[in-house]
């Protein structure tokens, strides 16, 4: 299992557009990827609706957890994506 915590820096947080990008990226991996917010709520990274329900705003810290084949790369690429959001 691989884990990482990153801070979401863009103004609008994890809303539809970046959420969509995250879902598309997560779907390319075989491993099981979960995202959780500071309150500890954890959801699958492949569901945009569930990601939106985490209510991740600017400055929020989120935990990325992956388990299975390719887990290290998955966490790395997703961390990169989420740390560099511009919208």
């Amino acid at each position: 299992m691989t884990t990482n915590v990153i801070e979401v820096k863009n103004k609008t947080g994890l809303h539809t557009r970046p959420g969509n990008l995250l879902v598309q990226l997560a779907k390319t991996y075989d491993c099981n990827i979960m995202i959780s917010n500071e309150a500890g709520k954890e959801v699958k990274a492949t569901s945009l609706l569930k990601l939106l329900s985490l209510g991740i705003k600017e400055g929020a810290k989120i935990k990325i957890t992956a388990e299975g084949s390719g887990e290290k790369e998955a966490v790395e690429k997703i961390s990169e994506l989420l740390s560099n959001l511009k919208d």
Binding site: T12, G13, H15, T16, R17, G19, N20, V23, Q24, V43, K44, T46, S47, L48, L49, K50, L52, S53, L54, G55, I56, K57
Partner: protein, 570 residues
């Protein structure tokens, strides 16, 4: 059964086609209990209808990409991702399996859960995504039930839409390539649906009372957008007769096209510029083919009508830049935000007003919300290096407003200079004359403006105290009323005294019957839906400027609208 009905001809041309009634259906979803053996079939139904929905959204996305750009297309990408949400699907299948109810009922329950999950989020932007989910969910449910949402953008060829009314967001999806015309119950000649029909150049009839008592999906209908007559279930001879009319119309159009590069001038050399009104950047694509010498009115409200966020400076800059470039150096007059009144916006929480037409709107909002105003002005200034842009302030009632607006414009110029961003330092600023205050103060105001543009639609409304959308008093709304014409004269005289020019961008400018009078009053430029330019130009070319001036003087002495219309139109 053949029925003939009458409304107001809103956009000229004849169309023959099949009716599709545009009306939101109330979707009823009764819970149907299943046996275990039916679960698989219901799950397949859920899956198949999801696929149908996905294809519909793809089509909407591609149309949006074509007509409105990547930005708007991305909204649909987000929608598709929501539709394809694995968890939503799995949870719904689980409900079908465990509660043994039909796909639509299960989906309805699921959607309620997910909608609540999203609207419970504190963040206001995410909270609002619940309405996206409702929209997509509605589409999915309709597809299961077999009652498809009518995508105004994906209709069969030769469709004529019959609706109670068409909002600007509905008509924004229409295209002359997919619909032949439309007919509505509400509306008058200057209501939004009418203006959009003329911009799109599709025949339309509005204000057809009791339309819905007669129309049915699939009926053949002939609509004559000039006379306002529609025939439902016409007989074969009528169809033939109207088909011939359509042919004649196309021939006339070709003839007018020949006048393209001819300047609009009377036989004795009184000249007038022919300009176009546009409501969004893609409208500019077709103005040059009608001989437009520039854009007399670029309405910017479209930027504020789509999203729940205010348009960014970048977004606005791209829109203004694209139009400036398309017009290749011909003047483009951008009107700053003119919202309030009859338009509804999610991005600006406008308070409900008793009198929106006399309310907090347009320039008033801009002078209160400097952030909003500066964003727009900065975008316009930055775009001004790509062509010849002019700025126009709407709904002006005092010189103080002009001074304040220009002061804020100067601040924007200073900021851009400091940031090293270039702009047209000599950019012209003018005003719309559409309020009684502006009419009375026209001569003095002319010293503070580089040009005037007369907005006859609102001007007539305010001077005659008549609501232009109200069918009960539509007869009173008449720009030929002596009060209005004398106002136009005062505006033009006041402007000319100060050495500035006057254009007219209201619907009167596009009415060729008024061209003679307007030339006689000394109007310098006519701005209208581009497709009207050839007709107005042809009219002007056949006039004697001197005779029209004399006629105009007579008209200004007249006391009744009826006398005026008789003399003006004969």
């Amino acid at each position: 059964m053949r029925i003939e009905i009458n409304g107001i001809g809103a956009s000229p041309g004849i169309a023959i086609g099949r009716i599709i009634v545009f009306k939101e259906h109330e979707l009823k979803i009764p819970i149907i209990k299943l046996s275990e053996t039916m679960v698989k079939k219901e799950t397949e139904k859920l899956s198949a209808s999801r696929e149908t929905s996905r294809l519909q959204l793809l089509e909407l996305r591609d149309r949006a990409l074509n007509k409105m750009g990547q930005d708007k297309a991305d909204i649909f990408n987000g929608h598709i991702t929501m539709l394809e949400d694995d968890e939503l699907f799995c949870d719904t299948v689980e409900i079908i399996r465990t509660e043994l109810i039909d796909a639509a009922s299960a989906l309805k329950k699921s959607l309620i859960n997910y909608e609540k999950m999203i609207s419970d989020v504190e963040d206001s932007y995410i909270k609002e995504r619940a309405s996206d989910l409702r929209d997509i969910g509605g589409r999915w449910l309709r597809n299961i039930a077999g009652v498809p949402k009518i995508d105004l953008g994906t209709l069969p060829n030769g469709t004529i839409i019959a609706a109670k009314d068409l909002a600007p967001s509905d008509t924004a999806q229409l295209d002359s390539s997919n619909i032949a015309g439309f007919i509505t119950e509400y509306g008058g000649k200057t209501s939004h649906s009418a203006i959009m029909a003329r911009t799109l150049e599709i025949p339309a009839i509005v204000g057809t009372k009791e339309l819905f008592s007669y129309v049915k999906d699939g009926n053949i209908i002939i609509i004559d957008g000039k006379s306002g007559t529609a025939i439902i279930n016409p007989d074969k001879q009528e169809i033939k007769k109207y088909e011939e009319e359509i042919l004649k119309y196309h021939i006339e159009k070709e003839e007018l096209a020949k006048l393209l590069d001819v300047e609009a001038a009377t036989t004795d050399g009184y000249k007038a510029a022919m300009l176009a009104n546009i409501g969004k950047p893609s409208d500019a694509d077709s103005v040059l083919k009608y001989g437009a010498e520039g854009i007399g009115l670029f309405r910017t409200e479209f930027l504020f009508m789509e999203d729940d966020k205010l348009p960014s400076e970048e977004e606005q800059y791209e829109a203004y830049k694209s139009v400036a470039e398309k017009l290749g150096g011909r003047p483009v007059t951008i009107r700053t935000m003119d919202i309030g009144g009859d338009k509804e916006l999610p991005c600006l929480n406008l308070p409900k007003e008793m009198n929106p037409f006399l309310g907090w709107r347009a320039l008033r909002i801009c002078l209160d919300r400097h952030g909003l105003f500066k964003t727009q002005l900065r975008a316009i200034l930055r775009a001004s290096v790509f062509g010849k842009i002019k700025i126009m302030y709407p709904m002006v009632i005092s010189i103080s407003e002009i001074i304040e607006a220009n002061r804020i414009l100067d601040i924007c110029k200073e900021e851009l200079r400091a940031e090293g961003i270039s702009f047209d330092n000599n950019i012209e600023t003018g005003i719309m004359i559409e309020t009684p205050a502006a009419v009375i103060m026209a001569e003095k105001m002319a010293r503070y403006a580089d040009f005037f543009s007369i907005g006859t639609n609102d001007l007539t409304q305010y001077i005659l105290a008549v609501d232009r959308g109200n069918e009960n008093i539509v007869k009173l709304y008449n720009p030929y009323n002596p009060a209005v014409l004398n106002s136009v004269k005062a505006i033009i005289d006041g402007a000319h005294k100060a050495g500035i020019k006057v254009s007219m961008c209201g619907e009167l400018a596009g009415d060729e019957k008024a061209a003679g009078l307007l030339m006689g009053l000394g109007l310098d430029a006519f701005s209208m839906s581009a497709s009207s330019i050839p007709r107005v130009k042809k009219k002007i070319l056949g006039l004697s400027g001197r005779e029209e001036s004399i006629k105009a003087e007579k008209i200004l002495e007249m006391e009744t609208t009826e006398e005026i219309e008789e003399l003006a139109n004969n």
